[in-house]
Symmetry: C2
Subunit: 501 residues, 2 copies
């Protein structure tokens, strides 16, 4: 047992507990806190953020980390302790470059921003959100300028935070390939599936029934309600206090069948990841998912690869029809599968099908890059947003609520996050291509037994928490690092089979 | 501006933020957290409690408090600052006597105990709760032995925490008077109102309708949903993060009309108190209600003095009937008022009428006193409980879930709290006796306009937070300190009018 590591332990504990509290506040703000609470609560959040900062960035921790990284000392650590030291060093090195008072002010700002965004979206008023967004962008740029490596752009520094080593250079190639292969595929598919009738989707679906069915779906894919809860919020999300307390939210629309169903499968995928982390890692700095890209790979694997397949719905479709017997009386499984996979350019990312989805991401990626390179201003965002939507998807949002205000991410300072969704799709396709060697996915789905799938992911991904990064996981699992070929191949095969053959 | 006080400010802020987080955890545990979360979350709570302890108990704060209490320095402070220094000194003096490690271990223990109690109650298994309760009692005794004044008993030290200066000597007199006057009154009333038919109370009341009506009641008495929320928990309670975020819970029973209705009026009374604290006090150490007794005076004033009066229901009874048109078709206002005021000895405190209620409190007071004086052991509690119920109320709980396990309080270490309910009743009666000079309560109620009542209480009690104690508030308002006469007089008049005249 390393004496130095034992000295580090109380510091780890303090920072972990404070970060845990901040997660709880953030959950509470999104799901429950009353309207007028925010100004006071943001003060509390600012103070706790400053405490958390100081729990990590102090001379004692600096000295302990230095000592622990001495080769002789480092070699004496267990492999878990080594992972913790590496992870903590990374956080320390980043955080110590940001001045404490700016960190606190920024935390207070983003604590309030979620509600400001949500009000602005509700009243379709971008100008009400713009000043706050401007402040957030300014902080994000400042922080990136403090923390980035000398040869990095500001946006690269943000991307690096979300998925280490996947920067604009890599993403330009990645998205280039997608554009090259998906855009022509999409054109062909749209020409073919235009006649697919998904009118069923916008009938009346009582919220209480949706809640019940979504709860069933969560359990069906393996969400454990003894270790998790479900609530509601403006924008569905997943969070967790630790691997025995994982929380997902949903948002119900009475006139939309698919929205909440695919949200719960998506968030459920995130949740299974966190629930599956090994107990040895609980409440340590490596106790959560390893990166946003890997997280999105799990959510999108469940949502799309599984959730939008015919095999998934075969044992479930009767139950769905029984839930809404009159409303779905005229819809059969084949029509439903074609419906949930209909490729149809639209203005809203979270409602997008698998084929148009990456284009929504490319739009955001290009806009964020321009914003961080000062090529456009916050005020210009609505215009640029709509132009890009016209260019890539041929649609124009009917207003800013449906356009530039649709996503929660920027209000939380999450710049450089969107590419994770596309990376997640690619990782999911790569995993899927190899999973077949060990698990008969189709059979599992058709038999209504998803546990072997969850167990496979648990064994190869979930259990490791963040002790391995994305490419380490992928190499161990598939023999190669991230390879976008699997993704484009998956899309081409799926959509060819559905509509072009 | 005092330089010393400015130096104190960051310490105040840190402790306030940490305590705020602990409140949020406690709320979350009672209302939402999944079953298997507790062991890990309790660790987090233990760490944050230790942080909060250290934020207050340290040499710097000790030195600052000493300097601030120097007469010259103290006189230079604003009156709010003086209150803060006094309040903080009291907390400091108490807390520094408790060893830090015991404080943390105790916090972790009580964080887990709520769920252990709730499971034990659900499965009617006192033995499953007893070991935890024993540990809590041991800590409570230890802490009281550290903090009590030399001439105090352990139980007096606990009482003093809840209501400064109202110790066993005062309570023996107070409860003696109640026994002397209420027990004979109860006998007479029971003999008379035995025929009151309240069968209506145990019909079928769908939970969804109850939720809706309770929400209406909360708003009706002045609960502001922009500054508060309502949720559900095993045992109704009120808590708050600050005066702009006040939270109440309820518990619904499909076969009981009154339970949830009077709970929401009760918790609503607590909530109005916290919502009414002056904004200048928000997030300071004097930003909450001043004592448990005064808090209960507000809740029980709303629940009983207002909520069980005919004037209250006059403008509401039709709405209640419209909510359950078939179920209440055969019930008229007179019958309902007699029903909700029927004096009827029963085993459950929270379901008790105003007349038997104080007997439930006397039972708990006597038991707690014996427990803390080592006259009985934790294992003997079920037996002693049932004996006392037989003696005072002539009833025997059908099992421990309905008996000794019925209340949440002990699982949270709240010994010495129960007398606050009776003190609250007395304070409420005293306030009521004087309020008439300024507000026509009956007219307000009959007109369905409760705002003048809330404003009166806000002006004379709520706004002060804890800058004044119970007797300071009472003397300013009524010209005299707590006087139990008003309470027995109120009960005698009310029940004489209802059933004996």
């Amino acid at each position: 047992m390393s004496e130095q590591f034992e000295k580090l332990r109380p510091h780890l504990e303090r920072q972990m507990a404070l970060e845990n509290a901040l997660i709880l506040y953030s959950w509470d703000n999104e799901t429950l806190a009353p309207k007028e609470a925010m100004d006071n609560t943001a003060k509390v959040i600012g103070i706790l953020s400053a405490e958390s900062y100081q729990a990590l960035v102090n001379d004692e921790v600096r000295e302990l980390l230095r000592a622990l990284k001495e080769p002789k000392e480092f070699d004496s650590l267990s492999s878990l302790e080594q992972c913790i030291v590496k992870k903590l060093t990374k956080s320390f090195d980043r955080l110590e470059k940001i001045p404490a008072d700016e960190y606190r002010a920024y935390s207070e700002l983003t604590a309030k921003a979620g509600q400001i965004w949500s009000n602005a979206k509700e009243s379709n008023d971008f100008a009400a959100f713009a000043p706050t967004l401007k402040e957030i962008v300014t902080y994000q740029k400042k922080f990136a300028s403090y923390t980035k490596k000398p040869d990095m752009s500001l946006y690269d520094a943000m991307l690096d935070e979300n998925e280490e080593g996947i920067l604009t250079r890599e993403l330009d190639v990645f998205f280039g390939k997608i554009k090259e292969e998906v855009v022509p595929l999409l054109k062909k598919v749209v020409a073919q599936n235009d006649g697919v009738d998904k009118q069923y989707n916008i009938r009346n679906y009582p919220v209480e029934k949706q809640r019940e069915f979504c709860r069933f779906l969560a359990e069906y894919i393996g969400f454990d309600f003894n270790r998790g809860v479900m609530a509601e919020s403006a924008h569905p999300f997943t969070t967790n206090l630790h691997n025995h307390d994982v929380r997902i939210t949903n948002h119900f629309h009475e006139d939309n069948l698919e929205s909440a169903m695919f949200s719960v499968i998506h968030e459920g995928g995130h949740a299974l990841y966190e629930m599956g982390v090994d107990d040895a890692l609980t409440l340590t700095p490596v106790g959560g998912g390893t990166s946003m890209g890997v997280h999105e790979s799990q959510s999108r694997f469940y949502e799309n690869v599984l959730g939008r397949s015919e095999a998934f719905w075969k044992p479930l479709f009767d139950k769905l029809k029984d839930t809404y017997p009159d409303t779905l009386a005229d819809v059969d499984l084949t029509q439903f599968i074609r419906g949930i996979n209909k490729a149809e350019p639209g203005p809203v990312r979270t409602e997008a099908d698998e084929l148009t989805y990456p284009l929504h991401i490319i739009i955001r990626y290009e806009i964020e890059k321009m914003l961080m390179e000062d090529l456009i201003s916050v005020e210009e965002l609505p215009r640029v947003w709509n132009e890009k939507y016209k260019e890539y998807l041929g649609v124009t949002p009917k207003n800013d609520a449906e356009g530039v205000l649709q996503d929660v991410h920027w209000s939380g300072g999450a710049f450089g996050y969107f590419p994770s969704y596309a990376i997640g799709n690619a990782v999911a396709a790569q995993i899927y291509a190899y999973m077949h060697n060990e698990v008969n996915v189709k059979e599992c789905l058709e038999n209504g037994n998803l546990m072997p799938i969850r167990e496979y992911l648990r064994e190869h991904i979930h259990s490791f928490g963040s002790t391995k990064n994305m490419n380490e996981l992928l190499v161990a699992m598939t023999g190669e690092p991230l390879n976008a070929e699997y993704y484009t191949k998956y899309l081409t095969e799926k959509y060819t089979k559905l509509y072009l053959s």
